[in-house]
């Protein structure tokens, strides 16, 4: 009697679900990531030096090796929708230690860029954009600091866009050129009302 090879049906189904199917992959994704990041994730042989060097790995499910694998396999959805994407502190330890001369940090940055294009981006990143649009600074001045600066013999406003607000226009031009302020406002409104 002929026997079918394989596990009992429920287990077989479960395993099937975790396999890599060609239709889930997008080879273009690999190319786009490589173009933006100017590095070469397709050279990765999955040694794991990156994850072992990563300060975020021991305290979360973020695995940089996994993201590099996703870049290589073109697993666009899986990469861009994983919230762990935003746990990289960009310390570049993985980049300095990679034996294949890949910059995994820059792979993450490229994936974040692609996620942000689809409005998948945490609001704290966008709030920095709003602050810079208004004042030129991501961390603007305040009254306690102004008083302290005065006591130090410094001008209460530093000689940046704070002291010379006319320069803010140039910053607003650049951000508007890319439509970033409007997008930031829209996304923050959607999330926070």
């Amino acid at each position: 009697m002929a026997r079918t090879k394989g596990y009992p049906e429920p287990l077989e189904k479960k395993l099937r679900d975790t396999r890599l199917y060609e239709e889930d992959t997008n080879p273009q994704f690999t190319k786009t990531v490589e173009k933006i990041s100017m590095t070469i994730p397709h050279m990765c042989y999955q040694c794991g030096t990156c994850t072992a060097s990563c300060p975020s790995a021991p305290r979360s499910s973020y695995r940089i090796r996994k993201f590099v694998r996703r870049a290589l396999l073109g697993l666009e959805e899986e990469a861009l929708t994983d919230p762990d994407l935003w746990l990289c502190t960009t310390c570049y330890s993985c980049t300095d230690r990679c034996p294949r001369d890949i910059a995994p940090t820059d792979v993450i940055m490229a994936m974040r860029n692609l996620a942000a294009k689809r409005d998948i981006v945490p609001v704290n990143f966008l709030k920095t954009v709003q602050a810079i649009y208004t004042t030129g600074h991501g961390v603007p001045n305040n009254d306690v600091n102004r008083a302290a600066r005065k006591k130090l013999g410094l001008n209460p406003e530093p000689p940046t866009t704070h002291g010379f607000p006319k320069y803010v226009k140039g910053i607003q031009y650049i951000l508007d050129y890319f439509g970033l302020k409007q997008r930031a406002d829209k996304i923050i409104k959607e999330r926070e009302g």
Partner: protein
């Protein structure tokens, strides 16, 4: 006297103005004059902006670079985050024609053009460079030696890494800032996993505060084990993460360290005879008093 356009960034002028005040004074004593870079903005934050769109990050940083090009001065700065944006974008735009043309297409709208005529330096590397200042000159400038104190160094990430693109040599175990600490009369102290990140970068501090503080806490545990009187760094963002972070760590994890955190320029200022008032050390979240008692 060498002259540089002083790129301030955000956190030094707007949160730790003592570090800014110390930079002008300490640099001047070492033959470096820091000039105002009028109209400079946020670098912009490499984590926040670079993550959203690298092209916007390039253009925004290029605007700051062009301001210095117009002054015909190299830029000096005191923050690793700013170094990442300003140094790296300068480097990339000089190297890649396509990027440069893209950025100039944007800057055209505000009558600016990136030409690539200047260089960017961290003040700490200018201090260390024997052709500009050097450790001996730092030692000669000391009026109040920090004798009897044990000081650990946090190098931060974005000054020296990625090492392939930078010029600082090893990023596994550097000791050049320790040399500059020893020049002040203090004892530089090694500790476990010295090159670990402060935890704040890449937008993580804003995205997941507890996660970022947990990294900081690991550093604090290692520093406590080594037994130090103060931590010094060359990045106001790391400074904020260690200084205010200790308050947040106490709130979230219930542990208290009370470790003073000083920018290297503040430390140098003290050693050159500046008073704690001239350095606005009272603005630090963690009191510097125990350290000052040992020094003054």
């Amino acid at each position: 006297m060498r002259e540089y356009a002083f790129f301030l960034g955000c956190i030094a002028p707007n949160r730790y103005p003592g570090a800014e005040a110390a930079s002008y004074k300490t640099a001047e004593k070492l033959g470096i004059k820091l000039l105002d870079l009028e109209g400079a903005s946020c670098c912009p934050a490499p984590g926040a902006f670079g993550s959203i769109d690298l092209n916007i990050w390039y253009a925004m940083a290029a605007r700051n670079l062009v301001l210095a090009e117009q002054m015909k001065k190299d830029i000096a700065l005191i923050c690793n985050g700013c170094y990442k944006s300003i140094w790296e974008v300068n480097h990339k735009l000089k190297k890649h024609k396509e990027l440069r043309e893209g950025v100039n297409e944007v800057l055209k709208g505000i009558d600016m053009e990136f030409k690539g005529t200047i260089d960017v330096w961290h003040l700490a590397e200018l201090f260390y460079d024997p052709e500009i200042v050097g450790v001996d000159k730092i030692r000669d400038s000391v009026k109040v030696p920090l004798a009897g104190t044990r000081i650990a160094v946090h190098y931060g990430c974005h000054l020296m890494k990625p090492k392939k693109e930078r010029h600082f040599g090893t990023t596994e175990h550097p000791t050049w800032i320790e040399e500059m600490v020893a020049a002040l009369g203090a004892e530089p102290v090694e500790y476990r996993n010295k090159m670990l990140c402060c935890g704040a970068g890449g937008g993580v501090r804003g995205y997941d505060l507890v996660h970022s503080l947990d990294i900081t806490n690991e550093k604090m545990i290692n520093l406590k084990e080594a037994g130090v009187d103060a931590l010094t760094e060359v990045c106001p963002f790391c400074q904020l993460q260690f200084d205010r972070g200790q308050i947040e760590i106490e709130e979230k994890f219930g542990v208290r360290y009370d470790l003073p955190v000083l920018h290297y320029c503040e430390l140098l200022g003290l050693a050159q005879g500046m008073t704690p008032q001239e350095l606005a050390l009272d603005l630090h979240a963690i009191s510097c008093e125990p350290f000052l008692k040992k020094v003054l």
